[in-house]
């Protein structure tokens, strides 16, 4: 007796008791749906956290961690900027690197007439403006000629306008940074976002910064690549290149965001697993409901079983018939549950602004798992049906 035969038979007997079948399926629908929702939102959250950590720009920061030996031979090593001009030029040769964002920061005083404030003065290259999305709320941002010509112009953070200029428009005014006159061409927007805070900052084109502080070295270098795979290679190549150039063992490193992201991913996965297990309990309860209804169905159809046996059905064929019926029940429930979960997760993510991710693995898992539920909870009723005595069953009223 073919599978299709059994399937058609199962569908027709489920159709004969529509209300009962739907109610029984409901347990499976809700169970599978709940698991899908939890996993989808969990995976979506994980993906969101990962992109927030690594950033959408596919960037990685290079840092310098001198070994004990280097510190012993040069106690002032932390005062020195670790990245030289020739380092940058060498890094530019690595083909995976799309752009190099370099900057140097010095703390100094900024003076307007008699008032002074402590500021961090950062010399930046042109790539820095683009990557950090520096937006000016007043005035203008740096132009290419500002960078190339080393003009004495600067951008100031919003707090400087408040503290030094008492809220008055600072555009076109000149302040002294480390006793060098700088014309303010723009005020940066107040930083938004939870983790950002405003501080006293002055940004200068690197050429300008270099003349003021007499150093052509960078304190911070960030690499940008086309995509995250290339970023990995670029980061490794860059660290190796710098260690070679400086004759150091492992002092130049890339801050491996992947590892941090993986750690966070693990936490969200554990959370998903815990909540998913709780949702799984409802699936288990749904399975018990299926078993219950199948047992009722076997009892109700005792006579049918007797007739089938008299007509030549073997015990295995009776078992298969009822097993396929319960699998059909849970499979339909499972598929409906996937749609329910998918839909609900989409609605939740739409309103919560939290992405949801229904992967094909989860869908496949939902289908397979609901079939397993059908087998596990259908086995007992199906076995009961197959063990019936044909004579007794034929007499059953």
């Amino acid at each position: 007796m073919s599978f299709m035969e059994n399937l058609m038979m199962a569908l027709s007997s489920l159709k004969a008791h529509k209300m009962r079948s739907i109610l029984t399926m409901l347990g499976i629908i809700i169970g599978v749906g709940a698991v899908i929702i939890v996993v989808a939102i969990g995976q979506g959250g994980e993906a969101m956290l990962k992109t927030q950590i690594t950033g959408p720009g596919n960037t990685v920061e290079l840092f310098y961690q001198p070994s004990d030996e280097e510190i012993r031979s040069n106690p002032n090593i932390f005062q020195q900027a670790p990245f030289k001009q020739e380092d940058i030029r060498a890094l530019e040769q690595i083909k995976e690197i799309k752009s190099i964002v370099a900057s140097s920061t010095q703390f100094s005083t900024a003076r307007l007439q008699q008032d002074t404030v402590d500021v961090s003065a950062t010399g930046i290259n042109q790539a820095y403006v683009k990557l950090n999305e520096m937006k000016v709320e007043k005035g203008r941002s740096f132009s290419t000629s500002d960078f190339l010509g080393g003009r004495r112009v600067g951008l100031v953070s919003h707090v400087i306008q408040e503290e030094l200029f008492k809220g008055k428009n600072p555009i076109g005014k000149v302040i002294n940074v480390a006793n060098q006159p700088i014309e303010i061409i723009g005020v940066l927007e107040k930083p938004t976002g939870l983790l950002s805070f405003s501080s006293m900052e002055v940004y200068l084109p690197f050429q300008t910064w270099r003349t003021i502080y007499g150093s052509s070295d960078y304190t911070q270098v960030t690499l940008q690549a086309e995509n995250s795979d290339q970023l990995q290679t670029a980061g490794k190549k860059a660290a190796k290149l710098l260690n070679n150039m400086h004759n150091t063992e492992d002092s130049y490193q890339v801050l491996n965001m992947e590892e941090i992201a993986a750690g966070i991913g693990q936490i969200t996965r554990i959370m998903t697993l815990i909540i998913g297990s709780i949702a799984g309990i409802s699936l288990f309860v749904g399975g018990i409901g299926v078993m219950n209804i199948m047992l009722v169905s076997v009892t109700e159809r005792t006579r049918e079983i007797g007739i089938r046996m008299a007509l030549g059905a073997t015990r295995a064929q009776v078992l298969t018939q009822f097993l396929i019926e319960s699998i059909t029940l849970t499979l339909i429930g499972g598929i409906l549950g996937i749609f329910l979960g998918w839909g609900t997760a989409s609605i939740v993510s739409f309103f919560a602004g939290w992405p949801s991710l229904v992967s094909w693995q989860v869908v496949l898992g939902g289908v397979v798992f609901s079939m397993i539920i059908g087998v596990v909870f259908g086995l007992l009723p199906a076995n009961k049906a197959s063990k019936l005595d044909p004579i007794e069953s034929l007499r059953y009223e």
């Binding site: 007796m1 007739i307 089938r308 008299a310 007509l311 030549g312 059905a313 015990r315």
Partner: protein, 231 residues
């Protein structure tokens, strides 16, 4: 040919063993039309279940077409029922959710007959019992006589050698009973099918060539029929 050789069937009722069938020996030739009669509790139903391979004897041997089926397992018995025996019951025992033609197809499903062949053979069987215009009706849309005709069609569709009918007219009026019995006679005479009818109506038994009386789990020997017991 059916040969029962000193068949005994014992049931455990409470703590007591009850012999329902007591050393029954019986031979039914191919193409015979036999009636089995007896009061209720005589063991005639058990005898019929035994012949129909629904039950196994406690002791003794049952040869069906020369094969000793008394030690067959459940699967082998299912195959024998499917291939060699057609059942007709008092309460018709049609599956209520299946149309007449689908009910007739059932034995062929378990015989592994292809869908197309099932359809044509079921229609043929229904035509033979005069129900070609009722094929797609559900059982509850059929009269008692029509239901029993569907059951007969279902019994003959796998071309068995034996038809076992357990009180086939018990739920029918006398006029319909006659037409059903005529149907059995036709099958017996034209197709050479062995027909065994269990009944307590003497009018029904009159259709048979031979009547076997069962009482207290034994075959009674009326003067006309000594063949069965002497073998």
């Amino acid at each position: 040919m059916i040969v029962l050789d000193t068949i005994t069937k014992t049931y455990l009722l409470g703590k007591e063993n009850v012999n329902v069938l007591n050393n029954i020996s019986l031979t039914i030739e191919q193409s015979e039309f036999v009636a089995i009669m007896g009061p209720s509790g005589s063991g005639k139903s058990t005898l019929m279940n035994m012949i129909g391979c629904l039950d196994k004897p406690t002791s003794g041997d049952y040869f069906l077409s020369g094969e000793n089926v008394s030690h067959y397992n459940d699967n082998e018995l299912a195959r024998v029922r499917n291939q060699s025996i057609g059942f007709v019951f008092q309460q018709f025992h049609l599956l209520p959710r299946l149309s007449a033609v689908k009910n007739v197809e059932l034995p062929m499903i378990y015989a592994g007959v292809s869908k197309a062949e099932r359809q044509s053979r079921a229609e043929e069987a229904l035509k033979k019992v005069g129900l070609s215009d009722r094929m797609d009706h559900l059982p509850n849309a059929l009269s008692g006589g029509q239901k029993q005709r569907v059951a007969i069609a279902r019994a003959i569709v796998n071309k068995p050698k034996i038809i076992l009918a357990d009180e086939p007219t018990g739920a029918l009026d006398s006029k319909t009973s006659i037409s059903i019995m005529e149907q059995f006679r036709e099958l017996n005479e034209e197709e050479g099918v062995t027909v065994i009818v269990v009944t307590h109506e003497s009018e029904v038994a009159e259709y048979a060539n031979r009547t076997i009386f069962v009482r207290d789990g034994m075959i009674q020997l009326p003067s006309s029929s000594t063949r069965g017991a002497s073998e």
